[in-house]
């Protein structure tokens, strides 16, 4: 039995007025300066440029969609995110001479781009190769049923940004190619 339902609506109103938990929950992280996320952006873009160039060379292919963006990780309320990371992505269409599975040839490319210990894995409909460089993670994916290409993504860890900066990061766009 519960009499709490009587207060349901008013609790919702109070929740709204109270900021809906925008200060985070019980799993706390120290807000960092936004500069850390800015630095992460620069490192991710530089590493992605190196990696995508290496993959294109190894597959005799061409790179496209080489862009990055700030992505929210954890929500804080109905219209706000608390933590963010920078993610760069790209696609390399394999050249005519490249043989499948393409990921077999890309371990050394990951290492040359600074991502150690390439580890094979799987994803729905395909396979992956993942490596890390400090706190950055690079993932190469191949989906044989979808086409003759390799996808890549490089991302940093989720970082909490000061509350005052959240909206700015949420709105931030980064349309220029990292190449």
């Amino acid at each position: 039995m519960s009499g709490r339902s009587v207060l349901a609506g008013w609790l919702l109103v109070m929740l709204m007025v109270g900021g809906c938990g925008s200060g985070g929950d019980d799993v706390e992280a120290e807000p960092v300066d936004s500069a850390a996320l800015e630095q992460q952006r620069d490192r991710v873009r530089a590493a992605s440029a190196s990696l995508v160039t290496g993959v294109a060379d190894a597959l005799g292919g061409r790179a496209s969609q080489t862009t990055g963006r700030v992505e929210g990780c954890e929500s804080a309320s109905e219209d706000e995110l608390r933590t963010f990371r920078y993610t760069a992505t790209g696609r390399v269409d394999a050249g005519p001479g490249a043989s499948r599975p393409h990921l077999d040839a890309l371990g050394p490319v990951l290492v040359a781009a600074g991502f150690a210990d390439p580890t094979p894995g799987s994803r729905p409909g395909g396979s992956t190769l993942e490596g890390s460089s400090g706190d950055l993670t690079a993932t190469l994916s191949e989906l044989p049923g979808q086409g003759d290409y390799v996808l890549l993504s490089v991302e940093g860890p989720c970082l909490e940004v000061p509350e005052a900066d959240r909206r700015d990061w949420q709105r931030r766009t980064d349309p220029e190619s990292y190449l």
Binding site: S5, A8, G9, L11, Q65, D79, R171
Partner: protein, 584 residues
């Protein structure tokens, strides 16, 4: 020694540096400008005429404005014509770029063949000569074909550029605009005259739209975007085109007025809503499809910055609503108005990404739907809007709008019907419950997450009007809002008639409860856990995505909440360790 003639090197492919998306944006801006000027023409032909004013002054006034209206209409048509040509130019440039890429690949391959043959000839014996010459001849023929294709490509590029230049030159002078378009009837006018009335069904609207010519449809999109942008029964593609024109026009208009310091309070509110819509579409378009690596397609399905006394109405999809195999409509709850569009777009994008990631063979569209007046402020703050949250009145009204939207989505699609899922979060679940119970929405799945109750009349999953096997509930054990629904036999509703209805995660409700705990959940009730259902790599997003994809067998079920007579509400999920299934 026999002489072997090597094939020639393939010719170089000329450079082509361009960004079709930027050209397309330019076309969009021109179309928005055309709509602005068309508005002036309509104003002169309508509101600017003063019927109660007679005399010489009136005659002079009306004589003066008449040509302005005529010139505005002609200029609008001219701009529209150029905008359409620029859009076609963007398509053609993309085709030329794709062809150039193919040519580069062919060139690289042929150059490799020539190098290989050169090497083989160097070490060849007399016995090899005939076979090598035959091979050289074959490659020579391929090189000649390639060179011819490069010439054709260069010629096509030159023709396209000439055609684009001519399209601009044709209307460069005001005199030419007047000569070509002066007094020409706008094709939109005739088409709009046959538009069904306000009480038409989405099916009737769709039949009218299909009866128009392509030119008439394009004319309406440019000249009267408001006539179809939010009209149920119009397919999502043209709705998006019309709403894009309207949004770009509004941003240009109000930003200009703002720069003059002449914005009214209402206009300032509308401009903020328009900017939120702009932010939302960019938030989605900046992200990439996890299967193709290409930008996610966006569609502005609903855009009305002045709706609901300025709270605004915006719905934008990640993915193509007209063609997707699986369509999800996410209904947000309290605290939501048009200014929340940027964040809601992020949720739609994560759901799209996760659904695509988990089933790369299916196509998806995920739309956030701020299409009703949700409680978004406290009564002592900006008025009594927030007070709506304590009752179901806003959910009841919103449910009707949601049902209309789903009807419109169904009626406007051709071919195979989509697998449609309605997802209500927070107070949006109350709205979704009302849409289902009060109007019988034609969906395949209903998902309630973080629900404070699904409406007083929806007592069990069967009351939603769909098979209870396809009614789902996600409730994080630390989410205090998900704990507010009615439990057991004695509760606020039975005692005082209060509350927002039953908890869909409770055993007696009869829905499927799925796992929705978060690895970052708090130790006890935590408001932060009310907002994590759409975050990546959470149980909730994983399970919602599987439901959206129709992969019900892949959903991780959770034990229901229950309320024994001898104790308080029990949640078996409270002590389970959360997992982090990959969703990206």
């Amino acid at each position: 020694m026999t002489t072997i003639t090597l094939p020639p090197q393939p010719c170089a492919v000329p450079l082509l540096t361009c960004r079709p998306s930027a050209v397309r944006e330019c076309g969009g801006d021109l179309l928005a400008a055309s709509a602005q000027i068309d508005d002036l023409g309509s104003f002169v032909a309508g509101d600017a005429r003063v019927g109660d004013w007679t005399g010489r002054g009136s005659a002079r006034y009306h004589e003066t404005i008449a040509p302005i209206g005529r010139r505005a209409d002609a200029m609008s048509l001219a701009l529209r014509s150029v905008a359409t040509r620029v859009d076609a130019h963007a398509d053609e440039l993309q085709r030329l770029l794709d062809r150039r890429t193919d040519l580069e690949e062919r060139r690289s391959h042929l150059a490799g063949e020539v190098a290989r043959l050169r090497g083989e000839i160097t070490g060849a014996t007399e016995d090899d000569a005939a076979a090598l010459q035959a091979e050289c001849d074959l490659v020579r023929r391929d090189v000649e074909l390639f060179d011819a294709d490069v010439t054709t490509w260069s010629s096509d590029l030159a023709s396209e550029e000439t055609a684009m230049v001519q399209a601009f030159q044709r209307v460069q002078e005001a005199e030419a605009v007047e000569r070509i378009y002066g007094g020409v009837a706008d094709p939109a006018d005739g088409a709009l005259a046959s538009k069904p009335g306000a009480d038409a069904t989405p099916e009737e609207v769709n039949a009218w739209w299909d009866s128009l010519t392509h030119a008439q449809q394009q004319a309406i999109i440019a000249a009267a975007p408001g006539a179809i942008g939010n009209l149920d029964g119009i397919p999502a593609g043209p709705r998006n085109a019309a709403n894009t024109v309207a949004l770009d026009r509004d941003l240009a208009d109000w930003t200009h007025t703002e720069s003059l310091g002449e914005l009214t309070d209402d206009e300032r509110t509308w401009l903020e809503n328009a900017r939120a819509a702009d932010e939302a579409r960019r938030n989605i378009a900046d992200r990439v499809d996890p299967v193709t690596g290409e930008p996610i397609e966006t569609q502005i399905y609903l855009y009305d910055p002045a709706a609901f006394d300025g709270d605004g109405a915006i719905a934008i999809s990640a993915g193509n609503l007209d063609t997707a195999d699986n369509v999800a409509v996410v209904v947000p709850g309290f605290g939501t108005d048009a200014e929340s569009a940027g964040y809601q777009a992020d949720r739609a994008a994560t759901l799209y990404e996760s659904s695509r990631y988990l089933d790369p063979d299916a196509s998806n569209a995920s739309m956030f739907w701020i299409g009703y007046d949700a409680p978004d402020n406290a009564p002592w703050d900006e008025g009594f809007d927030g007070a709506g949250v304590v009752t179901e009145s806003m959910a009841t009204a919103g449910g009707e709008h949601l049902a209309d939207t789903i009807d419109g989505l169904r009626a406007s699609r051709d071919g195979e019907p989509a697998h449609v899922t309605a997802i209500g979060h927070s107070y949006g679940s109350t709205t979704t419950g009302h849409a289902a119970h009060d109007h019988g929405i034609e969906v395949d799945e209903i998902v309630f997450v973080g629900s404070p109750g699904v409406g007083g009349d929806t007592n069990d999953a069967g009351d939603t009007g769909i098979d209870p096997e396809h009614v789902w509930a996600g409730a994080n054990s630390r989410d205090p809002i998900a704990d507010l629904g009615n439990h057991g036999w004695v509760h606020g509703e039975t005692v005082l008639g209060a509350g927002l209805g039953d908890d869909p995660a409770e055993d007696e409700f009869g829905a499927n409860r799925f796992e929705a705990e978060s690895e970052t959940r708090g130790g006890a009730f935590s408001f932060g856990d009310h907002s994590k259902y759409f975050d990546h790599d959470t149980e909730s997003l994983h399970n919602i995505s599987q439901i959206v994809n129709g992969n019900d067998d892949a959903v991780e079920h959770a034990d229901h909440v229950y309320d024994p007579w001898y104790d308080g509400v029990q949640d078996p999920e409270h002590d389970r360790d959360p997992t982090t299934p990959a969703t990206r």
